[in-house]
Symmetry: C2
Subunit: 200 residues, 2 copies
């Protein structure tokens, strides 16, 4: 016998489906929503439906965008279309933009090559990238996938695919993070930081 | 400048409002939903709306119930209406029912007296409890609030309020949890377990 009312049980189940949310947390979240004003719960429900309905991928860079047509970054006249930064995920675009340094455009792969998870190049937005290079307007492609095994593999694979188009292919620099302590840096990072040392 | 599309940003904000969900987790949850089929997202939204609309408090025991009228426990002819178990929260009813031992009915306070959080008896379903005692049908009230300061305070306050109705007032037993190890029991629990020892 179930002791929660069925409608509450269904809400708990929905929350429990979310990644990293167990049954106990799901109960807590469901009870929280139940104790909110009707309007707050309605806003939550609306936000889900509207996000699903209103968001699609930019036909140029494959980043998430609202409505039809290119995303604001691809549409901006101030962006350098000769420079493409390849990232795995829309969140990485947000991280890059936060640095306020990059003036080029992006290409979002929506994942990385991962044989362990059965993700190959065909599951990523790879052909959309090579199509963008076909007209010869692009000078440089920056590989900005994560510095882990899968990110490296993906960057390596793409660089081989992209070089025949006659573009420069670069990779984000490795090194010690700004504001960190040497003593906490791992060996691999320190080795890379040494290798990449620059004259002052 | 915000780099997420507005509809996605709103969904992230909604998730971030939930207790224990920070901005990073909220992003992760929003992206997860965005990657689900339309139907799954719609089911989530529906579950929120239906839980809010369909769930109310049982007019007798104040536990959460679906639809109008008394909850299934209050409506059950097999339950002993002379025995009321007072709990702080609907989740505590679920915990009690899971033990499959209790045959009486419940009263859900929806909180505990907590001067620190500005919660007094008037914020709880206390008058609804005394109203249930008025007709003299109730023999015993079991105080099953949590064994912490606030739960104790609440049990103490209610017991003084309830005794004038001529009902027996009891409190759940304290002691070492079944299946635990003595070495891990705290002093307060061990003291209570000693005080409450029974002849074998």
């Amino acid at each position: 016998m179930d002791y929660f009312p069925p409608a509450l049980e269904r809400l708990v189940e929905q929350f429990a489906k979310l990644p990293g949310v167990g049954r106990k947390s799901a109960q807590r979240l469901a009870f929280y929503l139940l104790n909110q004003p009707d309007q707050a719960a309605q806003e939550f429900a609306d936000a889900i439906v509207q996000a699903k309905a209103g968001i699609s991928c930019c036909p140029v860079c494959q980043n998430l965008t609202q409505g039809e047509g290119p995303c604001p970054i691809c549409a901006s006249p101030r962006r350098d279309r000769g420079l493409i930064c390849v990232v795995a995920d829309p969140k990485d675009v947000v991280a890059m933009e936060r640095a306020r340094e990059y003036q080029g455009v992006y290409h979002v792969l929506h994942g990385v090559i991962s044989p362990m998870s059965h993700v190959g190049p065909d599951d990523l937005r790879v052909t959309q990238l090579t199509q963008r290079l076909a007209d010869g307007q692009v000078r440089e492609v920056i590989m900005a996938t994560n510095p882990d095994t899968e990110g490296e593999t993906t960057a390596m694979y793409l660089s081989r695919l992209v070089k025949p188009f006659g573009v420069k292919v670069t990779r984000l620099a490795y090194g010690i993070p700004v504001g960190s302590h040497l003593e906490f840096a791992d060996e691999a990072t320190l080795t890379r930081a040494l290798e990449g040392r620059r004259e002052m």
